[in-house]
């Protein structure tokens, strides 16, 4: 599998938040501010890459019957690393992410990638998949956080831009609303793109047919 394919799949075509609808709990809970979203994204990228690499290395060793508990234990270990690092070096972020930092263990995105990709692919591909899926997750969270922080509090990265704010966007209801609208926009966008590609393909086929017909007509004229 090519690097470009893995990158495009992770960030756009199979975007974990908007397309696969995985990791919804942190997406809704942490997207109240951009700083939180990026901190959460960084934690998820780290855990996802490490767990993908280790699971890919151990894919022939772990018996398939106990693979899910084994995956969860591996993920929990890396999450503990993240928790300890955040607690020591980023105490503010640690406080504002709160319970959602340990909850990375049960983030379906990480288990889903372990099960669907890392356990059947080579180490290099698994590491790249973890990286780009993590980036896709972070980007999606940042888009949601940008909208919610700007409209909900009138701030960006905690810096006050104006006094205008719509409180609902800062609450969980606003999270559901923004998430729903963004998925709908993503679906509409990808539908439009695939329609365009189909039209292009159809046009190309038509042109090819026309060329063949012209060639046939020309050769017939020559024969005459």
């Amino acid at each position: 599998m090519k690097v470009k394919d893995i990158a495009l799949d992770g960030v756009v075509r199979q975007n974990p938040v908007f397309k696969l609808v995985l990791g919804t709990c942190p997406a809704l809970a942490v997207s109240t501010s951009l700083a939180n979203a990026i901190g959460m994204g960084a934690a998820v990228i780290f855990v996802l890459m490490c767990s993908n690499i280790l699971i890919s290395l151990l894919r022939n060793v772990i018996p398939s019957k106990v693979r899910i508990p084994a995956f969860i234990m591996i993920i929990a270990t890396f999450v503990t690393v993240v928790i300890l690092v955040f607690e020591k070096f980023l105490p503010d972020l640690y406080d504002s992410l709160g319970m959602f930092l340990p909850l990375i263990v049960v983030n379906c995105l990480i288990l889903a990638r372990a099960e669907a990709f890392a356990s059947v692919n080579k180490v290099g591909a698994a590491a790249l998949d973890g990286l780009f899926m993590g980036i896709g997750f972070t980007l999606a969270l940042s888009v949601m956080a940008f909208i919610r922080e700007l409209l909900g509090t009138g701030c960006l990265f905690g810096v006050q831009l104006w006094d205008f704010s719509i409180g609902i966007f800062a609450s969980s209801a606003g999270g559901f609303l923004v998430y729903g609208l963004l998925i709908a926009a993503f679906v509409a966008g990808s539908n439009a793109v695939s329609k365009k590609q189909k039209q292009k393909q159809a046009a190309a086929e038509k042109a090819a047919k026309l060329q063949v017909a012209q060639a046939v007509a020309a050769s017939e004229a020559e024969v005459k």
Binding site: V21, T24, C25, L28, A29, I68, P69, I72, M73, A76, T77, V79, T80, I83, L84, M99, P102, L103, V105, V106, N107, C108, L111, I168, S171, S172, A173, G174, G175, F176, L177, Y179, G180, L181, I183, A184, A185, V187, A188, N191
Partner: protein
Amino acid sequence: MEVIALFVAAVFTNNFILVQTVGICPFLGVSKKTESALGMGVAVTFVMVLASLFTYAINQWVLVTLEIEFMQTIVFIFVIASLVQMLEMILKKVSPSLYASLGVYLPLITTNCAILGIAQANLTAVSNLFMAVLNGAFAGLGFTLAIFLMSGIREKLDKVDVPRPFKGFPITLITACFMAMAFGVFA
């Protein structure tokens, strides 16, 4: 009095799904039919009570005593996974009919944020084992209430003409937005 406050907080003002946005996966995935939503709700409540009991007890009497609180995440998820596995085996043996109705939801519950969420929330929200178990039961009740209400709305939504990009998840999330606003009133 403390119990009533805990009840109102867990079911309404701090509803796990609609206010804290924990446990969204089953909320979106298993809320198409009222029957399966109720099954999921009962299964989650059951596991939440047991998980609260075991994780709180183990934390209090093992992890804190040995001063290894940093192992919390790993130990909790291990306890929850084994608990669900054991529950599945016991149900299969003791009550096949209950297993038939709840069994399909059990494997999903291990990776449900709501269970690990209640274990984590109990660390700060309650002061003793009894309250932890109660908190688990009430949070499960709140979960069941939210998923049950949602399934009722979704059964009606199936018959409505929704714009094409909004079909499926988006319209469900926007419905959840209005439900969250309604629950927000309690706060």
